[in-house]
Amino acid sequence: MTAFILKRLGFAVVTLFAVLTIVFFIVRVLPGDPAMAILGDQASEAALSALRVRLGLDVPLYQQYFEFLGGVLVGDWGVSMVSGRPVIDEILKVLPATLELTIASLILGAVVGIPVGVWSAVRRNKLPDYVARIASLLGLSFPAFVSAVLLLMFFSIQLRWFPVISSSQGGGLGEHLRNLALPAINLGLIMAAYITRVARSAMLEVLNQDYVRTARAKGLAFAIIVRRHCLRNAMIPVVTVVGLYLGILIGNSVLTEIVFNRPGLGKLIVGALNQRDYTMLQGMMVIYTLIVVLVNLLTDLTYGLIDPRIKYS
């Protein structure tokens, strides 16, 4: 197990290096000028050139690259070219909000998606199955920003149960959860839709296995067969999807963050991209890569917990 983890971490270092290298060069190839983002559109060419020198953008690209790598190795991620604030501070200030939203959505998605998916498989081609399939299809095809606005209009404007601005300051745990509720529901329902579909198809496959037929033939109650013999075996594809989706979710939560006005990594990366804030984009990529690598590692380790036959070598 330790050897497996170390091996995976070794791969992670290589992945991180590759991602950083690609991102470093891609952002610099893109049209757009950080100096103009800072000085504004009235700035003269001379002022823009002077700022490019101050930002270190005038030195050869390879030199910028090695300086950047050297910085990353010693934990210096530089300062944002646009705001002047340290990159790591900017990221760490909003990272908890993103993780909180992601985890809340994951829990909601799993709590709703797994039982509905299993129920749908067990009631295959009956009314509950049709309802679950249509609901999950709706969940997958509904754009997150549309569902977000609808949730706000209903729960915040009509019922006044939740605030429109989810980032409201102050308040205790109750207030905090109230702020989190709508964004988590918005993302969680999309996740639930994914999980429902995967759980349903995985369950259907397991239900057709010989050992299930045998269990039924020997007279075991169907509920026991599902709970004891099927559920665990059907969970591996679900865990795979959750692991994959978690990485995507962190990146794709930007629309939810914008509509519910929550702080988060998504908003940070969109802002950095619009303003060609190279240092911020590079810092963001380090974080994203680390998160994706970590989530994949945890997913792999979870397989062993679900199915003891899986060995790590």
Binding site: D33, G40, Q42, A43, S44, G84, E90, V149, I258, P263
Partner: protein, 513 residues
Amino acid sequence: MKLRIGVAVATMLAAGNALAAGTTLNVGMASADAGKLDPHVATTTPDKGLLYWMFNGLVRIKPGEASPEFIEPDLAKSWTSSDDGLTWTFELRDDVECHGDYGKLDAEDVVFSLKRAMNPDISSFAKDYSAFESVEATGPSEVTIKLSENVPSLLGLLVPYHGGNIVCKDAVEALGETYQREPVGTGPFMFAEYQPQQYVKLVANPEYFRGEPKIKEIYYRYIPSDASRDLAFQAGEIDMIYGKQEQSWVKRISEVPGTKVVVMRPGEMSVLHLNMSAPPLDNILVRKAFAHAISRDAMVQFKGPDVTLAAISPVPEGHLGYTADVPTYDYDVDKAKELLAEAGYPDGVTIKAIHTTLPGMLTTMEAVQALLREANINMEIETVEHATFHEQIRKDMSQVVHYAAARFPVADVYLTQFFHSDSIVGTDTAITNFSHCAVADDEIVEARTETDQDKQLELWATAQKKIMEEVCAVPVVQSMQLWAWKDTLDLGVEVNGSLNLSPPVTEQASFSE
């Protein structure tokens, strides 16, 4: 039971909102986050709007107005100028305190501040102060500015806008880089807290020389989604909201009970700059055909008659030096076709335009495209994201550049930045002359240093006429600034405009309940 819980929660929320009114002002701004909050560096509308409530200048434009004709004393209680207009002496108030523990503001602070605004290594606006030869403290409360040549509006450079914001020397030196995040001024409100992607909190300055503000806290909230901002306003979570430059927004937000919608100057001028350096727009007949193909009335109707004005001259209406006495090109499709045929394009012409994906600007350009098509001018629009747009139009990659800008309301600014040959894109001194227009250089330069105001106005008028005669650009519409706030909020002044594009929240602002 569920209903009862809902009612209880709603009641609590309503009570919370009511309590929050009174002395706390919540403002919703269309931005994802704060940028640099150093007044000599900040260039974006959201940042400038916030800094407006925190800083003073030597003079100021009367709150609620945007034109230099309303200039009045601010930190300086009086001033004199030499006969040649090259030496200006300002007598400062002696009751101005810097925010926090940075002491009384004196002449040294003002000198430090103006020199900082002039320094191209620090300031985004150094070029505006290039005619400043020296700035000296000639007494504890006296500052003397010497100019190398006359400038169109010296007092305009000293209002709390861009480099005219006066910073406190001790604060800048003590805070170093932190000053960009925690600005210290002398205005009615002081910086208190910044929460990334959420808000900047300001608190009342109890030592403010015009009196302690009645509003005690301002939460300047960054809400990039238009829909969410509107909903937050509708839910009563914010009291003042930055609007979308659309007629439909005005209509929609006006329907929220207890709302006051304000249309402010300066307008953002939408102009189509025609690249005269390459075919087919190097031919004046094609440019005239282009101008005749655009109906300003249709554009005003399209953008909304309550929020836009037809643009006549390349300088916006209401700006110092504006004239309506310029050649105009009436909407006439047949005439446009005739001109094209005369220019050698009887079957029409195709023009390439690169344009930003920003929705407000893109819809304008698409409406122009539809109008041009009627006159056999096929404008192919290639859309790119905003930063790419700015880079590519500065490389002469677009034959037509649609540019929307609000600038300091003096004709010289528009004429210099968009129509003087020094500003032609691709040159070392480039700013935003996309048309390569150079027909009014003499008038623009002469007007800049002219001390006789009548002559100056005449020179600016001539420059505008020449630019329009050559059809360097086609002015389309002027989009006004839109804000709305609760009618219980009284700003204490009538709001017609604001140079910093945010309403004047001063010591006079208060809630009536």
